[in-house]
Amino acid sequence: MTVGFAGLSHLGLVSSIVTASKGFEVVAYDGDPELCRRLGGAQLPAFEPGLAELLAAARSRLTFTADPALLASCGVVFFALDTPTDEEGRSDLAPLRHLVADVVGQAGGEPVLVVLSQVPPGFTRSLADDLFDGRQPDSARVFSQVETLIIGRAVERALHPERFIVGCRDSQAALPPAYRKVLEAFGCPILLMRYESAELAKIAVNVWLATSVSVTNTLAELCEAIGADWSEVAPALKLDRRIGPHAYASPGLGIAGGNLERDLTTVATLATEHGTDASLVEACLANSQYRRDWALRNVHSLLVERNGQPLIAVWGLAYKPDTSWTRNSPALALIRSLAPLAIRAYDPQARLDPAAFPHAAQVESALEACRGAAVLAIMTPWAEFSTCDLREVRKCMAGNGIVDPFACLDPVSCSNVEFRHLRLGSRVAPAGLQP
């Protein structure tokens, strides 16, 4: 059986390649012919661990095309365009609606249509009604499926999903055989529910995670103020069965990446419209914004006694390790906020746009970034940073301040070479600054 994917941004790309790796013939469509040409040549637009290898292994079962007519042969078509959001986390669903209309109009046939994109509650029902004018048999072949990919771990999560959440017009009816066959290839539970429940389930997962992040960040900041250490507190939480070992209990620089913010904003908007209380969600968003500036405040705290125009070294540009994505990256937010102070940055994968950051220069090694720097900010916890030679770093730098939110570096080792090392969730002992 052939499975179709429409929209080859991150979600569509990962999902189509993973589906091909399960033995299905896959037609992967995108309206951008250049993207399809590059994908046909195995050139991926962004780094995702394991994806290039999976693509190489499944290449013979994949057809990348800019022609929607090729989807006519598919029993199931997944619409997997990542929903764009603005700076306030509001979704723009117009590109997805256009994509669906184009494909249904041009591909023909009667495939099962599955919306895999991130959509708010009510979207799939209205889409089905619009497409088929409310005709029951046709609109019943429209489904929404919840994606729970995590950038940087997308392949792992797509290959081994915990469950499938499927929104249906009639949750009591059996799934169409073609769709069921695709889902069963992954060997996990399949939860059928009405459209709105499935769409809200996706948001519910993210809001739940966002509150965990916010609670962690709130308590980590308190640790910094009262002399506790969150790295000592967190294991106690994770051993509590009601919280669990996989809980989001690591402090961070707010909620990054865009997906959680989008779903928080969706809940806030829905709550306003329907008159339900969303003060918790508003608090999460406010706390996220506040914690995002943690690095900025601490870089300045290390610069407080410095005059002139100090150089700041930044390690890491991607919004998290093992990806080249920089959208909503705290590193870029920091670099932007430090202008016009001079920045020297390094990242193993992500690139800095020199036009957008004229005060910053990207260099090719971590050590090079540190030469003459007053302060080092480690904004993405790439594994290679934790194995750096701290004595060499110390020799390179003009100052002795390190802002290391994710504790890439060992605090004791930093102290041994007289670094003033600031990390999330822990108060640093007062120490003098180097000239």
Partner: protein, 298 residues
């Protein structure tokens, strides 16, 4: 958050300071002159903003390329009642009408952190504005009056909300560093309510002037808190002042009249707006105040 209409600093054609004889206005005039800006200071002797013809008179004094800084207000030491509130609002009404008659190039209003609700920490520019005093209500109402006027006249508006200010020439004598310094030097005593547990963010009036100066150079618009980001208890401040004032200063604790509250600021917006600006540490600022008062007395 504020936004700079001029990325590179450039002197405004002229700066007109309303309230030039007040605590903030005086210091600001001095600072702007140190920056070699052309400055005109107007005090209530030059222009009584509570009079019904003040708008026309102000309009007659303004030039289109002027930057106008509003520091004029009756401060709480002159009254905390409704009459003071109305008086201050009348002044704002006249300023708004004057700007409408003669739009200027830039308008800056020195408001107060009293516009924020009590008990919310850390305070940031987006914090809930729900003042708990007539003084705070006055500043919030003035912000609205001037915002509407500036929007209508297409004048870029900056609102600055300073935390507690201190400085040698302070006339308010409010509870805090200013009063502590005075009583320490005259009576060799500092009186605290309770044990002075309340934490506040104390800002040197010099630093407020520096922030205003930078904002004028960059033609900044929006709202910005003026706070150091480091709150200290009155107890700490009292001990600091006692040390600076020399031997023999005692600290007395009086019965507390109200519950302990704290105020802290998130200063991220200032760090983003002015990355090279540094607030002077409280120890240094108070040391300067003590020296200045000694010099004035001598």
């Amino acid at each position: 958050m504020i936004e700079h209409l001029r990325a590179a600093p450039k002197a405004p054609a002229r700066v007109v300071v309303l309230g030039a004889s007040g605590f903030v206005g005086c210091d600001l005039l001095q600072h702007l002159r140190e920056l070699s800006l052309e400055v005109v200071g107007l005090s209530s002797c030059d222009l009584d903003l509570s009079r019904s013809d003040a708008a026309e008179r102000l309009a007659g004094m303004l030039e289109p390329r002027d930057a106008v800084v509003v520091t004029a207000a009756l401060t709480p030491d002159r009254g905390r009642d409704a009459r003071t509130l109305i008086h201050n609002l009348t002044m704002a009404e006249q300023i708004a009408a004057g700007v409408a008659l003669r739009p200027c190039a830039h308008l800056a209003y020195v408001s107060s952190d009293a516009v924020y609700a009590d008990g919310i920490n850390p305070v940031r520019e987006s914090s809930w504005r729900a003042p708990g005093s007539l003084h705070g209500i006055m500043h919030l109402a003035r912000e609205h009056v001037l915002t509407d006027a500036a929007r209508a006249a297409k004048v870029p508006l900056l609102i600055l909300r300073p935390s507690l200010l201190y400085g040698a020439r302070d006339t308010h004598n409010g509870y805090g560093p200013n009063r502590f310094v005075r009583t320490a030097m005259t009576d060799r005593v500092i009186k605290l309510f309770g044990r002075g547990e309340e934490k506040r963010d104390h800002v040197s009036v010099r630093d407020l002037s520096r922030v205003i100066g930078l904002s004028l150079l960059h033609a900044s618009v929006g709202a910005l808190n003026v706070a150091t980001g480091r709150s200290r208890s009155f107890f700490e401040v009292a001990h600091l002042v006692a040390r600076l004032a020399g031997d023999g200063v005692t600290i007395e604790c009086l019965p507390r009249a109200s519950a302990v509250t704290h105020r802290h600021f998130d200063t991220s917006a200032t760090l983003k707006a002015f990355p090279t600006f540094r607030y002077r540490p409280l120890d240094d600022g108070l040391s300067e105040v003590v020296k200045e008062i000694c010099a004035i007395r001598a």
